[in-house]
Each structure stands twice: as structure tokens, then as C-alpha cells.
Symmetry: C2
Subunit: 465 residues, 2 copies
């Protein structure tokens, strides 16, 4: 059975009967053969994205914002982008505070002594080497914690449960991420000595999902960690026995008031330097537990590989500006620095790849009413890859979020997120999770999108160096 | 297309042409309706196996041989088996040396500094808190290490790679487990300062697979660990860059010369105490990283649940003896203690569940030529569960291996091992990996097997206490 949306079904059924004059069909969208060819060559043959993803995750590995590893990643990136032939390769540095994970452990002390696997959340207070011990006060949601009297929480270790489920568009992250984002502040305000949350994730492995949080409204920092999903479920089973449960948490960490991060920028100069550039992005920093293969080595790789393919085909009308942002994970600091420096410059469009490397299933854009034909052409150029055209009034991105909010037009190439939150912010974010075939589909889609947005390519000219 | 084995195809094709007198068909195997009923009730309704698996993994958790946790597991088991109504519940203790994991870490020092995830193998020498550092000498098999000149290994840290693939019958464990079992001795003999192996497993998670090894032939103990599979693959990529690779290993551990372990035993008394009992088993101890849900809480649970279902149906002709062995993981110590105490007593049959809790797909037995009808009846009773009848000359088991080798008849109910080595000996061996539906299929098969081997049940009599 084929299911049609009801509204569409009604149209189909009603049309012959009512025989109303049809609305004029929208003008046909014709994708030029050279765009098809560029896209399909990327789909079949791209190696640039894999080379960058493999190289960055192998030769640098984890690259936590503001650390020496992130600095090595910038040096690696500058060398790589120059070697690929891009122009104007440079780093724009900025300073930032840095939180660094130390030794960490957790254990049930009573009634059933056993270890639990935990990771501190970014900006957790340090327990010091002695750790903290206390009775668990358990809640099944942030709202349940919010509704609880302070007396039920004071002096205890809060535990917040939830049950995040996978979605293709990743939309559960907003709702189910609340325990990590809002839980620590609430727990602190109610007098808790620490908090652990069920990892914001959808897997069943003993790999905790870390992530950033901050203490708002003047709340005093307390130790805050994420239990793996099997461990959170174990704690729930132990709590269900109805006896008081005490746990011990050791989450050591250190902070540096100021360290350096930076954005790495490179360009494919356009034929007309007066025209606004198309910005394509990803972020260079990663969390510390994995090698950041899907978050976001593959993202910087996809953006740069597509730009490289356009550059190798000739000279586009508009400049392509590649930005590999620093310090995304800890609060979009690279994106905010870019906005402060370049936010007043015109941008023709901005797009970011920061949702893994599984196949792109949907394209959305927010180019404005006057550029609807361009938006439709992007959709038509991507459709042969099995990509649905979604809204013409939506575009998002992490680092480019502030830029889009300031009014810059955007394109969103949405990856399939079904397994993204199995891996996100865990030790399991490693190269073996990147599927080379799906990675090439990403590059093909980005190449086609750039072919449309940067304007016709002049095949015989060479890129300016 | 239907594919027939060639030999069978030849028979089918030749039969009408040659018209030889047919061999007399084997006598029909008739499974009594009460056996069908017992089996199908277990398949639909068993809760005993889940209760034991959930209870043991939750209320005790990890239970490393010889530790206080294993002692708590014995106390838990005695209480549980008594509460279930079994008779003669007792513990047979024995002494053993104990190796206990301490803090552990690994990191690449050069050329690309980054952490690796490692776990010490059982009986590894301790590096002490300072760890050991050295250049990596890499080999893609134990044979390659064996063939290498000592000079290529001396003073270095050996790394052995391999590529284990999943099999339904688990038969790859023998071949691909060689790096763990033979590697440390070989590396030590050639003068290595330590060894790491690619985890003996088939997953792609950052969870190392531990397991026991021992230094043979007087080889001096050296630190020995297992890298997770993503980390082993990362090390291979780093090595492929062609520069010398140095790593630092910290594998701390402690040993106790003597501690106590023990086998927990319970019985369903048979109507005729002169008849040899049927032994059903699993092992109570687990590795320390997970809660030993598939290895082997589910095994002890399946064996006991089936015995419980027979007991609740009435009195079997033969005694069922349940043995939950101690200290299997560290060298079958419980099985050897049982053999020493009971090896000269007659046993009608022995069976052990120690390969997870996924569905049973094959039954094999070694009951002897004279009991072929009984073996065929077991196969017929299990066939409605989709279980293939395999060899009549094979049976195996871990703890019961020495008993079977001494001539005790055996039955082997083989679970599907396709995902077993994703989890085996890792932190990921937790309750969420046990599928309740497949667990019930196991109990159904074991119940039917016991219904056949213990002889007719007298429904109206009550079990002796």
C-alpha cells in the first residue's frame, strides 16, 4: 500500500471531478549537466574527505578545545589545506578558559557494592581525589527534580533518568538533553552535593556521553557526571529494591583561566571578488574521550572535500570560504569569534556539516523569497542522491548558528542521525564508525550544493594562488 | 534455488534409477505429549531464568573469582536456590591464587601523542604506577612473532594484531585467541618488556576484552594487555606512517597467594536414588569489567530454571544436580575441584550453559552408541524450537570439560554465538544484552533435554526436601 498524506490524497482524488483551472505549474528546474557530472564524480571517486578524516583522527587524535592537542590540530590543518592547494590559509586565534578531565570513577557503596562507569560533564566541579559520597535522590526527569522539595535533595547526589530514542533528524537532543544542560544548576540550587545523569544517548554500551554544561543563575558548581546507559539502568534496578542507595563519585578535573584556540580558514577565490563568499564549515575541536571522527573530523572533511572538487573543476564565480572552527564543543566559541570579526561582511550563504557522516537525507535552506529558484535548484541537484527537499525557511548549524541568527542566508544538509547519538561525545567516536560510501554521498551533495551557490565554474581558468 | 549437499543430491538422483533395496528406516522417535507441554510452557512463560540473571547481576554485579564479590555471589546463590525449593543446597569450597586488576592506562608517546584504551589480561605482571615505555614491535599473528629474531623484539613492547570474525558456533575463539594465550609467553621469551594484543573480539567499541593467560615454560611474567579493537586499528594506522612508534603502558595489579572460591550445588532428588544423576551447570564467577550477564549469569540461570520447571512438574526418575561453578574464568578451577571430589561417581549426563543467552541453534551429544535412541529423542524434543540435531559423538563445556574428558556422557546445547564475542570479557557484558525471548527459548530447550534424560516425571508425588 502506498500512503499519501491526506491533503495530497484529497487533491489527487478531487482534481478530475472538480476540473478547476490548474494553478500554473512552477517553472521547471533544470540542473545543468556539468553539475550532475561533478556530483556523480564525487559520489564515485572522492578520496579527499576520507583522507582528511583518517589523517586528522590518526595523526592528531582527540583535540579538546584550548589544549595542546587542538593546537596540533590547527598546525596539521594549515599544512593539509595548503597541500590541497587552497588559498589564503590562515588561523584566527582567540583566548578561552579550559576545563580538563582528570581521573574519574564511581561506585555503589550500598546496598550492592559495585563499580559504575562515569564521565564528568564539561565544567563539572572537581571532587578532588577523595571523591564525594552520598545517598542517591533519583528523578525520572528534570521537571520531577524541579518539582521536588529542597529537603528531598539537600546533601544528596541527584540522579536524573530519561529515555532518549533515536530519530532521523536528531530532534530528540533538545528535549532529552535537558538533564545534562539544566540538571546541574537545578541540583546545585536545591543543595545537592553532586549530580549524575543518564548519558544523553541512544546506545547500550559502557561508554559515557560527556558534553558541556554550565552553572547558571549564580548556582555554585558541583561535581556533575554522566553514567553510561547500562550503568544508569543498573542504578534504576538497584533503586527499585527500595533500600537507600549510596554512591561514591570521584570526578577530578582542572581548569586553566586562559588558553588559546582558533579558527582555521582557507579559500577558493572566486572570479568576481566583489561578490559575497559562500561559507562552508565544520569544527576542528573534539571531545577528549574519542578521536572525534564523526564529531567533527568528517564534517570539516566533507566541507573541504567539496570545495576542493569545485576548485579542481575550475574557477567558481563566488569565493568559497572554508572555516574549521575551534572550540565548538565548549560553547561555540569559534563561531562567536567569527561573528565578531566577520559578522558585518556579506555572505552569500553559510552551511555547516556537524552531524556525523551518515547519508544526507534532507536539504533545507533559508535563502530568502527572492532566491527561491536557487533553493529549488539545490533541491533538484541533490534529488538524484535520494535527498528530500524540505523547508525553504529553515537552516541551522552549530558554529554558524550565531551567523544565521544575524541574518546570513543558510543551507542545511541534514545527515541521517539514527545512530548519531549512539556515538556522540563518547569514547566510541572513532574512525571505524565512518562509512566511506556514505561519506562520499555527503561530499557529492555538498559539491552539488556548492556548484549551485557559487555560480558557474570557468573550466579553463586556474585557481588563483 | 534450493541447494542440496552434493552427496545428498547424488542419492536423490540415483535412487530411482538403481532401485536398490532401501535401508530399513530408523525406528520412529516419538516425543511424549507431556514433554512438548513442558517445553512450550517454558518457552511462553519462564520467569525463573530472568529472575536469576537480573538478580545476580544487579544485587552482586561483577564477581571475580576468589574475591569478596564472588563470596557474596555464593551467599546470594545459596539463598536463591533454597528459596526456589531445591534440596541439598551446599557450597564446596577450595583455595586458589587471585590476581586483581588495578589502575591501567596506555598512550602513544610518539609520533602522534594520544591515549589508547587498554585492559590488563589476567595474570599480567604489574607495571607499577610508573608504567613502562618502549618502542612497538608489531606482528600480524603469533606465528609472525614466533618467526621473528629475538633482536627485533628485545627491549620492545610487542603488539599482535589479528582479525577475528564472528561465527555462529564460536569456533573462531580457538584460532584467534592465540595472541592472548600464547603471545605473552613468546614475547617474554624473546625479551620483550611488555605485550599488547588486539582484543580477542568481534565488536568495534572502546571496550577491551580481557581474559586469562599464563606464562608457560618458565617465561618471566611481563605486563600484558588487550587494546580495544578501535585502538588496535588506530595503532595499525599510526604504525603504517612508517615512523618508530613508542607507547607507555600502565597496568597495575596485585596478587593474593591464596583466597577462597567454591562451587554452589543444589539438587532435585530423583525417585530412584540409586540411579546416576544428570548434572546441569554454569559458572558463577565473572570477569571484573562487566556484570557477567552473558558470561555466565544467564548460564547458571538457564540450567537452574530448567531444573526448577522439572521439579515443579513432579518427581523425575533421576536426580538433577545443579552446579554453579566458581573460578571458571581463571582456569576452570571449580570444574577441576568437582572432578577431584566427584569424578569417580557415575553421572548419567552432564551439560553446561556457558555461551551467552542467544537462541540455541544446535544440539549435540555424546551418550554412547547404546543410548542413541535417547540422543535422537533429545533432538526430536528440541526440533520444534528450530534446533538442529548435530553430532552424536560430540559434547563440550568449560567447567565440565575435565569431567567429559574422563568419560562422563555429555549433551551440548549450542547457543548462537554470532554476537557473543562482541561482548565476551568486556565492560559491555551487562544485563541489557540478554534478550528475554531468546533466554526463554534456552530454558525451553534445557527443560525438554532434562525431561528426556532424567526419565519420566511422576506428577503426583512431591519433591523430597
Amino acid at each position: 500500500m502506498i500512503k499519501l498524506p491526506l491533503a495530497l490524497l484529497a487533491t489527487v482524488l478531487a482534481a478530475p471531478l472538480l476540473a478547476q483551472p490548474a494553478a500554473p505549474p512552477p517553472p521547471p528546474v533544470v540542473v545543468a549537466p556539468w553539475i550532475h557530472a561533478l556530483r556523480d564524480d564525487a559520489l564515485a571517486n572522492d578520496r579527499h574527505a576520507w583522507d582528511i578524516t583518517e589523517g586528522l583522527t590518526t595523526e592528531v587524535g582527540p583535540r579538546m578545545a584550548g589544549t595542546a592537542a587542538e593546537a596540533r590540530a590547527r598546525a596539521w590543518s594549515v599544512a593539509k589545506l595548503k597541500a590541497m592547494g587552497f588559498s589564503n590559509v590562515r588561523v584566527e586565534t582567540f583566548d578561552m578558559p579550559v576545563w580538563v578531565r582528570g581521573p574519574e570513577s564511581a561506585e555503589v557503596l550500598a546496598p550492592f557494592p559495585q563499580r559504575l562507569v562515569v564521565a564528568a560533564l564539561g565544567n563539572s566541579a572537581s571532587t578532588g581525589p577523595a571523591g564525594v559520597s552520598g545517598e542517591v535522590a533519583a528523578f525520572d526527569s528534570v521537571d520531577a527534580l524541579r518539582a521536588a522539595p529542597d529537603a528531598a535533595v539537600r546533601g544528596k547526589i541527584v540522579f536524573i533518568d530519561h529515555r532518549m530514542t533515536p530519530t532521523q533528524d536528531g530532534s530528540g537532543y533538545g528535549q532529552f538533553g535537558a538533564p545534562r544542560r539544566a540538571g546541574p544548576t537545578l541540583a546545585s540550587q536545591k543543595g545537592a552535593i553532586a549530580i549524575v545523569v543518564r548519558s544523553i544517548g541512544t546506545d547500550h554500551h559502557r561508554n559515557p556521553h560527556t558534553g558541556v554544561m554550565s552553572f547558571a543563575d549564580g548556582a555554585k558548581p558541583i561535581p556533575a557526571g554522566a553514567l553510561t546507559i547500562p550503568d544508569a539502568e543498573q542504578l534504576v534496578r538497584i533503586l527499585k529494591r527500595g533500600k537507600p542507595v549510596t554512591i561514591r563519585l570521584r570526578l577530578e578535573s582542572t581548569t586553566m583561566a586562559s588558553a588559546q584556540s582558533g579558527n582555521v580558514i582557507a579559500e577558493v577565490p572566486g572570479r568576481d571578488p566583489r561578490l559575497a563568499p559562500v561559507l562552508v564549515a565544520g569544527h576542528l575541536d573534539s571531545w577528549d574521550q574519542g578521536t572525534g571522527a564523526i564529531d567533527d573530523a568528517s564534517g570539516v572533511a566533507i566541507a573541504a572535500a567539496a570545495a576542493k572538487r569545485i576548485m579542481d573543476a575550475g574557477r567558481p564565480l563566488r569565493t568559497i570560504r572554508i572555516v574549521w572552527f575551534g572550540a565548538e564543543e565548549v560553547g561555540l566559541l569559534g563561531g562567536l569569534d567569527y561573528l565578531a570579526r566577520h559578522g558585518k561582511e556579506p555572505h552569500h550563504a553559510a552551511a555547516e556539516s556537524d552531524f556525523g557522516a551518515d547519508r544526507i537525507w534532507k536539504v533545507e535552506s533559508k535563502l530568502g523569497e527572492a532566491r527561491r529558484d536557487e533553493a529549488r535548484l539545490i533541491g533538484a541537484a541533490l534529488a538524484p542522491l535520494g535527498i528530500v527537499t524540505g523547508s525553504f525557511d529553515e537552516a541551522d548549524g552549530s558554529d554558524i548558528g550565531p551567523l544565521l541568527a544575524s541574518g546570513v542566508p543558510g543551507v542545511g544538509l541534514g545527515q541521517d542521525g539514527t545512530r548519531y547519538f549512539d556515538l556522540h561525545h563518547t569514547p566510541d567516536d572513532t574512525l571505524d564508525k565512518v562509512d566511506p560510501v556514505q561519506l562520499r554521498q555527503n561530499v557529492a551533495a555538498w559539491t552539488a550544493m556548492l556548484a549551485v551557490t557559487t555560480g558557474p565554474i570557468e573550466p579553463n581558468a586556474r585557481p588563483r594562488r
